[in-house]
Symmetry: C2
Subunit: 288 residues, 2 copies
Amino acid sequence: LPRFGTVVIVGVGLIGGSIGLALRSRGLSSKVVGFGRDPAKLDEARRLGAIDVAATDLATAVDGADVAVVCTPVSKIAQDCHRIAALGPDRLLITDAGSTKAEIVRSVERDPRARSMFCAAHPIAGSEKQGASASRADLFDGRIVALTPTDLTPEDRVRRASEFWRSLGAKILTIEPGDHDLALAYTSHLPHAIASVLAGVIPERWLPLAAGAYRDATRVASADKGLWADIFLANPQHLRSALGDFRRRLDRLDALLAAGDADGLSALWAEAKDIRERFAWPPGDSNP
Amino acid sequence: LPRFGTVVIVGVGLIGGSIGLALRSRGLSSKVVGFGRDPAKLDEARRLGAIDVAATDLATAVDGADVAVVCTPVSKIAQDCHRIAALGPDRLLITDAGSTKAEIVRSVERDPRARSMFCAAHPIAGSEKQGASASRADLFDGRIVALTPTDLTPEDRVRRASEFWRSLGAKILTIEPGDHDLALAYTSHLPHAIASVLAGVIPERWLPLAAGAYRDATRVASADKGLWADIFLANPQHLRSALGDFRRRLDRLDALLAAGDADGLSALWAEAKDIRERFAWPPGDSNP
């Protein structure tokens, strides 16, 4: 039986498309409506089976909806939530998939109606690929979705958001919005920034001499530029503090190299190796 | 028909073991001798099918050999080449698998006998895993092997080394030893150093919030510590210059973040993405 009635996906890219595929392949909703401004992209999402119907008018899209999932770029999410709240029915659950949370939550909570409908979320899953064509029904399978409710979030919206994301295969981790943004600055924004900086300093003429270490360390550098500029600027202080930590450790490595200190280099390497080996992927599994 | 007669593998870890597996699975040699100091490791290599016989005495190992491949840590390779040249027959080809080349070539070339047998090589293939148990018969398939002959390298040793590595499935790229070390400082040593620094600054308590970007950007940080301290210290100047380039680009990113410059961040990202998309893996294939 459909559990979520009509679900509106606002922004049908990789994340929105994957949510649609997961809902439809699991029979979790009676109807999946895709909302966006580009009819060609909505057509593609429909062709791929990610949505049942397309809408380019937001009032039409949210009319009679039970759940709205906002999958637009982080700089647009709060504004989209405000508009959806104003147009949607009282029972609507609004959740989102933004990679940063504090600013979005702060903005949504200024509006009592939006606040009464909203529980912020961040699925810790993605790809360097873009668009609905890169969508996968199993994108959230076994992955963490961070929920960042506050004292102002209605309990029933927390429960419904938790059920929604869990039904897509995800595991829920509840965390305060600011703590989320600090942690993600280190676990996601920093690795993306570093991958891009690294890809930018290795001259193209030497790429035939690059192999697996290069390939993996720079993979996410081929993600969408606008997307990442947007995420970085939604969390600049925390990211700059992570970059500062990174630079200090880089300086230690450089000093050990300058000194020819083999034992120091081994110790620095061992310290990082030890942390890396505690990483389990997918969550709960053993080290890859 | 066996093409290489007796091949001695000096140091039967991931690389040496994979050479043995490739030789034996392709029937390229009449005998593969594994040389090392640890009988337990040699036993394991024999059990895995990477070698036919084990030897813990170098004179016995190289007696009657046609090819010796030195797969020991970079800081030991030159010394091993000198010893092998002194003990082996005149016809012997000595090649190696070291990740740095200039210092090794310089040292080997000081000895006329070793020089007359030696053609330096670096297979651009590997893994963060260690030991013969991580060996794969296809490790070199479609991969680049850099050969770094000089004016002093006998032409027949260049030809034989080239045939040897190509028979394992590799493609040959010939490059001057110093150029090799400069290029590899950027394409391999820098990504390894950065992966380790990154893994070292992300607090363990936040790892449940890490996903694919973290996993890939830090994968090689779990490689052997001694191995990489060794490689870094065999090429410190070039690596420090790569780290300097990296730091300057990191500073540009940080300044753009401080200024809240979305266009600047997008442009910096796009520049790196453009280089990354020219990377083909495996060599000649399309972007992964």
